[in-house]
């Protein structure tokens, strides 16, 4: 090859690099065989403790759920996972149609008009939605109402700072308010009055941004039903393993009139000269590669493969399967709550509030209790006082279809003094 190029060595191709910059090589160990590589990586994996699904009662944004084997069987197809963003539509119909189906599924689930192709995670989805509201309303304050996931709020703040968007915790919307952001169920698992919050936002001329748990939407009114303008959320529960927090997928869907402000990819229907249906990247004029500094967002690579997983998951479940999964979590969490509150000194932190499958309990000596559970191989609830000083001793527990009745018994037994 060097001969064809007409040079003697690779160095002749590197002539533009100032000699003072040239290295002798990298300060890294020499390469390993695949066997040795896996041995090292496996040794690291073995230094983590993974709790069994059924004995995991901790949520806080990442949940253990049954993942059908079909999901990995699809996402592990090299044709999907080793393709690039579908720039050449005709050679990328597999990815494009899968995203189109994902968009349709998310729109259906949230009751909104249009979903985008995916965002990085729930946190950046909240931030992007706030950005949309900022641009749409021309106002630069967003209100975070109630217990929204603290890390989402942190990301929102970081995003907001760049654009000069103020993030206010609580309070009534007013004419400076671009949007009111709330989480349903909230970070503690409690239901908020989504209708009232939405109404109040609209009354102030602000948008209502609902951050929702996708599985709960098989039970709860979706944002579209109570008039929210933008629905966002974290899609991890839709067929993705916890994986220490990522990669998962942020979803965002909105009303028709906000579509031009949506961040990221959008796939739409198109046809060829013979009238055959196909799918293409659509409304690209919103995006960075066309609009550059005027784009709605800077996002380029997003989370397609995770969106594919979510699409397979939702298609596997279908309407009745998703309802079943949501119902089972609901029933089990309520049964668990009933038993936990009978433990000496334990009480529901917000006894008047409703919940779906995660709920806050006030626990005497919470850190010690959780350590004790860990020793018994149980990943107990999440101590939320870490983020909220006012919630000292409050621990949220979650149940899904993976926590069978015996697992609940085991938890209760392990908690006996």
């Amino acid at each position: 090859m060097l001969e064809t190029i007409g040079v003697d060595s690779i160095n002749d191709l590197l002539v533009d690099i100032p000699p003072s910059l040239r290295l002798e090589g990298l300060q890294l160990p020499a390469g390993l065989s695949e066997f040795e590589t896996m041995a090292q990586v496996s040794a690291l994996a073995a230094r983590n403790k993974v709790y069994p699904d059924r004995l995991t009662f901790r949520g806080g944004g990442i949940y253990r759920r049954f993942i059908p084997a079909a999901v990995a069987a699809v996402t592990s197809k090299p044709e999907f996972y080793t393709a690039y963003t579908p720039y050449q539509a005709e050679a990328s119909q597999g990815t494009l149609q899968a995203i189109f189906e994902y968009q349709s599924l998310i729109a259906e689930l949230t009751g909104m008009d249009v979903s985008n192709a995916s965002l990085y995670d729930g946190a950046t989805a909240v931030a992007e939605a706030a950005m949309m509201a900022y641009v749409h309303t021309g106002r630069n304050e967003v209100i975070v109402s109630g217990y929204v996931h603290p890390e989402y709020v942190q990301v929102l703040r970081a995003f907001g700072e760049g654009r000069g968007i103020k993030v206010r915790k609580g309070g009534e919307p007013n004419k400076k308010t671009a949007a009111v952001i709330f989480q349903q169920p909230d970070f503690l698992g409690l239901l908020v009055d989504a209708r009232a919050i939405t109404q109040a936002a609209h009354d102030a001329g602000a948008l209502a941004i609902a951050c929702v748990d996708p599985i709960s939407l098989a039970i709860l009114a979706p944002p579209g039903e109570y008039g929210a303008d933008i629905a966002v959320g974290e899609g991890q529960q839709l067929g993705l393993s916890p994986s220490f927090g990522g990669p998962h997928v942020g979803f965002i869907a909105c009303r028709k009139d906000l579509v031009r402000k949506l961040p990221g990819r959008l796939v739409g229907v198109a046809h060829d000269a013979q009238g055959r249906r196909g799918f293409v990247l659509a409304l690209a004029a919103r995006e960075q590669h066309i609009r550059r500094e005027k784009a709605t967002s800077n996002i380029c690579t997003n989370h397609s493969l995770c969106a594919l997983a979510a699409a397979v998951y939702l298609t596997y479940m279908g309407p009745y399967g998703l309802k079943q999964v949501a119902d089972v979590g609901f029933r089990r969490a309520h049964a668990l709550a009933d038993r936990l509150k009978t433990l000496p000194g334990w009480e529901m932190a917000f006894p008047d509030r409703q919940f779906v499958n995660e709920f806050p309990v006030r626990v005497p000596k919470a850190p010690a209790v959780l350590r004790k559970l860990a020793r018994k191989g149980i990943l107990g609830g999440l101590d939320v006082s870490r983020w909220f000083r006012e919630l000292k001793g409050v621990v949220t527990f979650t149940c899904t279809e993976v926590n069978d009745a015996r697992a609940i018994d085991e938890l209760i037994e392990a908690l006996q003094p």
């Binding site: 119909q93 039903e225 397609s304 995770c306």
Partner: protein
Amino acid sequence: MTEPLSFELSRPAVDPPRLPDAEVSGPAPADVLPHDVLRSHPLGLPRLSEPEIMRHYSRLASLNYSISENFYPLGSCTMKYNPVVNETAAALPGFAGLHPYQDEDSIQGALELMWRLERALCAVVGVERVTLQPAAGAHGEWTALRMIAAFHHSRNENRTEVLVPDSAHGTNPASAALSGFQVVEVRSGPDGRISLADLESKLSPRTAALMLTNPNTLGLFEREILDIAEMVHATGALLYYDGANLNAFMGICRPGDMGFDAVHMNLHKTFTTPHGGGGPGAGPVGVKAELVPFLPAPTVERTNGHLTLDYKRPQSIGRVRSFYGNFGMLVRAYTYILAMGGDGLSQASQDAVLGANYLRKLVEGDLEMPHEGPCMHEFVASAHNLHDSGVRALDIAKALLDKHFYAPTVYFPLVVPEAIMVEPTETESKDTLDSFAAAIKEIVSRAKTDPASLHAEPTRLPVGRLDEVAAARRINAYLQGTSDDPVLRWSPASDGAS
């Protein structure tokens, strides 16, 4: 063959999947929740059996091109082979099953991996620390610019402008704008490099940073990078490195040594985490010492072999993503780095440069080469020479698809008319490059003899050239309320959106 949508394949006769029962006597939602909190519209998800789902997605998969089956010379995208062992590693239960809010002593392996990956990336790009939080390149750019803003702010400097070359990727100006900066464009000179004169004229006390990729998007090394760095630093601004092109020179030189203060890396390009049809990727950002205080929290710290997450970072720009980034992609990248080693990474870059120059040589008789070589890991050609035949870069792209090659990046960078940006990567064999060059030759010669045939391509794919303009018109009609077909999603109304 096209494939119906899952919604169109849906059959009411399909039983739902078997799922666990509640097994406990808790109440049903409708027993305890007020009516208006409950969903009222039926959930319109499709109903397919598992075999039908698997066939559906198998058929969709077969409609894709991918690096696993096709040469994918997408310039700027570094579509190199994704070793399968990466996938095995990320799927290890010790990683995949880990909850992010477990106690620190139960996640030591994960933190150790992150720590080691950070050290390795520092070594490759020549920086002090790296944050692994950003989920992609653009996210990394924005994270870095937030740090740069915080840096200037901490010094009470009010710097409002970010300089971006005209050849830059669209994410650069977009990230700058999102970070609250004004974007000032710097022109490229006739040799394809940034014009120092223009740079000089744009630099000012308002300048917060210059964003640069090197080699630039034309595949050319910015020869005067040391002068550029000096000029930028002299005005008190910082230098930002868009690491999308890092595959050009691992082990050959380092952005840190060139004077870059912040660097993002695309693990999904240089470090073989798969692209997934558009993500997930990972966009870690490396910084020099002066930016370390501003890194997103938490960072991973290691003391006496014990690893901790450090949240106490008072000057931090905060958090840019939930949890700790796309951990699964970090596992893959670390696996790749372990397997390659320092020697393997250096070899990879050398082979990437060799392949690009070889391919450039093969096609230089067929396409215009707007800039002189040698190139680094990629090159930008132009179909401008075919202008008279009416054949455009897009036609060449589509004709390549018919020959089982994915197309190069076209119409980017914007500074080259009819740009065709080719990045072969080091994992392609000479045979593949030869046959790609032969395909280009055939297409270009056909441009001269039978240009109409090129406008008609692709003809061997499941669909022909799709009419994006008509699609956009239909979307407009929907958004303006003159049509019920949402176009951007399936709806029963649109009868399968067909």
